[in-house]
């Protein structure tokens, strides 16, 4: 196993009655693209804020590249680049000038590096414009650029694709992959876009009500089996009722309009298809697939909207 980059031990944080983070233990290794997922209010952003020293932990320790955050703050954060929640800039200054100022605070970055970063995040031509004229997506891009500006060894990105259009999301995904592979940057990524997380991360941790309830390599957590069946059918509610009466114990779900989904187990798929067609339902497709991150997430955290 490669060297640990980020080690969190027994981290706790309470806000009044709410235990935002409780006894969090986590290790991220060099080269990891670690996905940190969980419902709203699970404690992800609070954890990230504690990693950067924005809020004080009630208990526990954070070590980054072997340095204790509490005892050696400068040495610790000098190797970290971060985007926490919504990006923040001085609106009356240009994107370029914002990067230049924050670059100076990181020990100084060259003009070429600022231009390179602006181009990397797709703001090459808008860098000289004032930030107040930027769209949310452009600010998000600038925020990612700021996080990468000073060549960090650990990149912490909290919801980096917030507010981006599909093309932007794709660009950021490719960017994360590229910098992880080419520049050997370890990435700690928090996002609600589980599909995106599945595509870029190699390890994930699931936070729920302040605790880490699952952690590990994505492949191992999801398992390789094709254990789900998806049916594209018209009148999905009637089809579901029909299947429940015809195949007791099947209990299909309707994940979205026009689709039924159930666990494969030992069901005879050909028989199910035949019965649906004979009953007059139009079946466009029937296929099996593996468990994805969303399935895992729902299994672990439940469908409840109550976070606390």
């Amino acid at each position: 196993m490669s060297e640990p980059v980020l080690e969190i031990r027994g981290l706790c944080k309470r806000f009044g009655d709410i235990q935002a983070v409780k006894d969090l233990n986590l290790t991220i290794y060099k080269g990891d693209v670690y996905g940190f997922i969980g419902p709203n209010g699970a404690g992800k952003t609070t954890t990230i804020r504690m990693l950067l020293g924005l809020i004080h932990a009630d208990a526990g320790s954070v070590r980054i590249f072997g340095h204790d955050l509490h005892r050696d703050f400068r040495a610790t954060v000098s190797q970290v680049g971060a985007l926490v929640e919504s990006p923040a800039f001085y609106p009356y200054l240009s994107g370029y000038r914002n990067l230049s100022l924050f670059g100076d605070l990181s020990g100084g970055v060259s003009e070429e590096r600022i231009q390179e970063v602006l181009k990397m995040v797709g703001l090459g031509r808008r860098g000289k414009h004032k930030v107040k004229g930027y769209s949310h997506g452009m600010k998000q891009r600038l925020g990612i650029g700021l996080a990468m500006l000073a060549h960090p060894k650990l990149l912490i990105l909290d919801e980096p694709t917030n507010g981006l259009d599909p093309q932007g999301i794709r660009e950021i995904r490719n960017l994360i992959r590229r910098i992880s592979q080419e520049q050997e940057i370890t990435i700690f990524l928090s996002s609600h876009l589980l599909g995106e997380m599945e595509m870029v991360t190699n390890r994930i941790g699931v936070m729920y009500r302040g605790s880490l309830i699952a952690e590990g390599e994505v492949g191992k957590l999801l398992g390789g089996e094709q254990d789900r069946v998806e049916i594209n059918v018209d009148n999905e509610q009637s089809a579901r009722n029909f299947l429940e009466s015809k195949f007791p114990g099947l209990s299909p779900k309707v994940p979205k309009s026009g689709w039924l989904e159930f666990k494969k187990e030992n069901w005879d798929l050909a028989a199910i298809n035949r019965e649906l067609v004979n009953a007059g339902f139009k079946v466009s497709s029937l296929s099996s697939r593996g468990r994805n991150l969303e399935d895992l997430f729902v299994e672990l955290t439940g469908e409840s909207k109550d976070v606390y």
């Binding site: 509490h70 005892r71 971060a82 923040a88 001085y90 605070l105 100084g108």
Partner: protein
């Protein structure tokens, strides 16, 4: 025997100074100054002060002419204008200083600063220096306009009366420089009050409201002696101690005697000593409070 929280606090405090670099601190000060002096609200504040100074100079001269009065010299004119300037302008200066920290909260940029290799005490120290530079610029505007208009209307040379030399030009400038230096003392104390207020607030609006209330509380308490009569007021509470912003007039009141021909043999006068003592106490209380607040605060930006 030290307890675990006490040890943690000590480690954290030591961490504030471990790896300190003067060069990086100066860069931090430069960055702070750059972003404040390029903020249109701050520029607007300076333009307002410039306008106040020019209008006050124009009105003062023409009212003197109408009343067949005269400041007598460019120096007296400049000192008079400076007094009026800091009377009206200090609330603007106070609010501008409040913005140094509150803009970071409003824009959310504080998280960008705190996630750099900069400690909270270092950041606050840089903001204090920025505040003092901003105050110097503001006082400089009033002084320069006063001197420029004084020279235009009356001339600025050696101070003469009836053909006799009262004070040489160099002496006048020397005493003005000392007065300006002393004038900074109450303003430094006021800046610590502004920083303390802004460090407790999460928005610029909140800071402005609390700031203006606090400023006028201390400023109004300071004028109670002159309204009630110093002797009468002194029977109850030493109001002049609570109203420390009013102490900004102490150096200029002493300086104001100079153009009238009264020499300043020493600045080490009881009222100056009192000003230094009171302002130092206030500065210490507010500055320490602001540092403790910022160090302990959780920034959920």
């Amino acid at each position: 025997m030290s307890t675990e929280p006490a040890k943690k606090e000590r480690d954290s405090l030591v961490s504030e100074f471990r790896g300190f670099s003067l060069k990086r601190f100066l860069v931090l000060v430069r960055v702070e100054l750059y972003k404040m002096l390029n903020y249109w609200v701050i520029r607007g504040g300076y333009i307002a002060m410039l306008g106040i100074a020019l209008i006050a100079a124009y009105l003062t001269f023409h009212l003197e002419q109408a009343a067949k009065l005269s400041s007598g010299s460019g120096y007296a004119f400049a000192i008079g204008l400076l007094m009026r300037g800091i009377d009206i302008g200090s609330s603007i200066i106070f609010l501008m200083v409040c913005m140094i920290f509150s803009t970071e909260m409003t824009f959310g940029t504080l998280k960008n600063i705190l996630s750099r290799p900069i400690t909270r005490i270092e950041m606050m120290a840089a903001k204090y220096i920025t505040a003092w530079v901003m105050i110097i610029i503001a006082l400089g505007i009033f002084l320069c306009i006063g001197l420029a208009m004084g020279k235009y209307y009356y001339g600025l040379g050696d101070l003469m009366e009836d053909g006799y030399l009262l004070f040489k030009k160099s002496e006048m400038y020397k005493q003005m420089a000392i007065a300006m230096l002393l004038l900074m003392v109450p303003f430094v104390a006021m800046s610590s009050l502004a920083m303390m207020i802004s460090s407790t607030s999460s928005t610029m609006g909140g800071t402005m409201i609390i700031g203006i209330i606090a400023y006028f509380f201390f400023d109004l308490v300071g004028v109670i002696p002159s309204n009630l009569g110093i002797t009468l007021a002194g029977h109850f509470i030493p109001y002049h101690i609570f109203g420390f912003p009013m102490l900004r007039f102490v150096p200029l009141t002493i300086l104001d005697d100079l153009p009238a021909g009264l020499p300043i043999n020493t600045w080490w006068l009881p009222e100056v000593k009192n000003m230094l003592l009171v302002c130092s106490i206030y500065f210490f209380i507010f500055a320490v409070a602001s540092l403790v607040i910022v160090r302990r605060r959780d920034f959920t930006l």
